[in-house]
Symmetry: C2
Subunit: 434 residues, 2 copies
């Protein structure tokens, strides 16, 4: 089936010249310009990475399986609600034309026929309760008070016109009405809406397959004996769970070495099942350099100094024959997590065909928040609600993983802001459901 | 494996009397008292249902698989961070005692030895950079400026005391420090914290298996031809997705009939894989009655008039030999969805061992919200954020499924409130991530 194979993307390399005198070296499109300090802005870097990745190919999926996936088609109703015309009041389903004679006077009594009639015969009526479906042929409801019953016939007291006391088919929802649009995520209520409209399959994009590769020779897997100078790998677990939370199918692979040949082998092995590779390390410079050297060997690489704190050093590549996107996260846990939210999350969402922007909300700072001009600062914060108002306090701990676990938001301080005073509103990215 | 079998719960029936002269009929514990209007409050009904259900049995799970699950143990750190003492400054790792002679004067120069030394010999020093792990035996760092190097030896200029310029092992996180507590849900950052502390397995409860059974003879599955008087089943799809969103593993089964024998067969067949059965119907009285008759036949049933709008009629049972909890939702889509959030969601969360209360937030009403005294009103609403403040407007549409799809919150108007004016704060349950 299509989505278990590599989703080949159009290569973004510059096309070979027609008259190939000199062999053109494939390269990434020109990166964005740098700022005065020689840095790339977060917005530019994000846009650049997103320009190098295409959404996965859509395919049809049964409705329930598509829960939490992103729709890649507009969907219109194929049915009317109510599906048939129904009575709004208790009374008699009638043909309005039968109620008057040729002289515009009330006609003769109507014969009451059984509700199971195939089609309402002329000159007859069916007893209906409010909400009942009208028999075919009926086009109005004569309220009970507008007739008297005598010997199985309805004697008319008042007339009604076509459509009176009838809820027409499609009154609540009409065939062709737009139900959901491309880019909508299928939540429970959207799924109910589609099912109720008779739709059992939708075009969505598959969950992106993200391979998280952990390397670094002083790292060991948690649960193993931790020797002198070694530390348990945290980043690949945290980032794997974070990618899962965004909606990816995640595979975590560990190659706890800095040997380029071994790292290269693992990356190459994993490319077949990866829509995106994310590299995490143990945070030492040599860990980082080992991976970058392999990336450069396997594909086209962009190394950038991004005007962001933490997370300045950012490396991205298109790797292997299929140009699989690969994002290398900084080694420090906080930098890695923040970089995930700044860059990996939008990439995963783009693969899913979803909106890539982090839904930012605003919160009142309860303590001063300081930043550096010219850098986007992403501080760890704790958002609380007081009544209808959100507050946020920065959180800072010497133990990086403890700090992350204590936070439930990232405080986003733009490049042009140096300080946010207590009582001022600041932008935050919420990290958990509220 | 344990969690693929039925999780037998302690029966809640009244125990058989020891001298069983008269056969005691098993029955549910006494239900809560009714209010003056003969209704049961939502709080009482919720508490009653929760008292009839026990959390699933916990089992050990590998860390990444436990993402989004609820911890059922307290977890303390098994490691120190940093794991070993490290230098805070560039200088020389030393034994503080070596720095002074018997007369409290600066001692003789220390011999510089290689950093790979097994254990720092007395009278020697190792050159360290800030962040380097100290060799065993060293207990202080002499800053570079406190010594001069001459012929492979450090001549002392100043002394330091034990622990000076050293970040002690466990300074950031100490063995035994509480990392996470029972009841915590494992998010990405919690997983990072545990992994970094060397923990690769946790005790969690399995995802509850929820079987959603759709019945009602005028219902057809979406995608099928919809005949005259038939409607496409929406509720079971919507509720299945809603249960999945809470964290359950969901199986949807349809038996589109009101024949009690057929419904009974399907329910009986499904009990083996159900931690909770949820019944949805097409909303006609006869659909509802058919299921209730089967429930009464299969187990102990509680039928209640709950002081709630919508969703007054609530039926719950403990079904089959294993007393599997079964919740019957009202047939109207809005009533079904609201009842799911009021009662099914807490039951699923209790099975998971999680906090069962809906995390309520407050929002400013932008339009008047009216309710009925004595009833908990759950209106459909749309929450928007203006700066750091949440606003909510009620949404009301003739097409019930359209109304649900347009809403992103339920406005919770307590029994004692008749009206909320524009500008006043009201409690809301958010239905999606913000």
């Amino acid at each position: 089936m299509a989505w278990f194979t590599r989703n080949k993307q159009e290569p973004v390399v510059v096309p070979e010249p027609v008259e190939a005198e000199i062999e053109e070296v494939p390269r990434l499109p020109a990166p964005p310009a740098l700022d005065a300090a020689g840095m790339r802005s977060v917005a530019d870097h994000t846009r650049y990475l997103l320009s190098l990745v295409e959404p996965l190919r859509p395919f049809g999926m049964s409705l329930l399986d598509a829960w939490n996936q992103v729709l890649c088609e507009d969907i219109d109703s194929m049915i009317n609600v109510p599906p048939s015309s129904t009575a709004k009041v208790d009374g008699y389903a009638v043909r309005a034309l039968d109620l008057l004679d040729g002289e515009d006077q009330l006609a003769e009594p109507l014969q009451i026929v059984d509700a199971s009639v195939e089609r309402l015969p002329e000159g007859s009526a069916v007893v209906v309760a409010s909400g009942d479906v009208l028999p075919r042929g009926a086009n109005a409801v004569l309220p009970s008070a507008f007739g008297t019953v005598d010997d199985g016939r309805v004697r008319l007291v008042e007339k009604v016109s076509v459509g009176e006391h009838v809820r027409a088919a499609g009154d609540h929802l009409r065939v062709g009405a737009r139900l959901l649009s491309e880019g909508d995520r299928l939540g429970d209520r959207s799924i109910g809406l589609l099912a109720g409209s008779g739709i059992d399959k939708v075009m969505v994009r598959p969950r992106p397959r993200v391979v998280v590769i952990s390397s670094g020779e002083h790292l060991v897997d948690p649960g193993s004996q931790i020797g002198h100078g070694e530390v348990a790998d945290s980043n690949s677990f945290m980032i794997a769970a974070a990618a899962e939370a965004v909606g990816a199918t995640v595979f975590r692979v560990a190659v706890h070495t800095n040997d380029p040949a071994s790292i290269r082998q693992v990356i190459t092995d994993q490319l077949i099942r990866a829509d995106l590779v994310i590299s995490t390390t143990g945070g030492r410079r040599e860990d980082y350099e080992a991976v970058v050297s392999v990336m450069a060997d396997l594909g086209l690489v962009d190394e950038a100094n991004v005007a962001m704190s933490p997370g300045r050093m950012q490396t991205f590549g298109l790797i292997g024959d299929d140009q699989v996107p690969m994002l290398m996260l900084p080694g420090n846990p906080v930098s890695a997590y923040v970089s995930f939210h700044a860059f990996a999350r939008p990439l995963i969402l783009k693969l899913m065909g979803s909106a890539t922007q982090h839904p930012a909300v605003r919160a009142i700072a309860t303590q001063p928040v300081r930043s550096m001009l010219g850098q986007l600062h992403l501080l760890r914060g704790t958002v609380t609600s007081e009544g209808s108002v959100r507050h946020v306090a920065p959180v800072s701990m010497p133990h990086a993983l403890g700090e992350l676990a204590a936070a439930n938001a990232l405080i986003v301080v733009d490049e042009s802001v140096e300080q946010v005073g207590p009582g001022e509103a600041v932008k935050v990215w919420l990290l958990d459901e509220e």
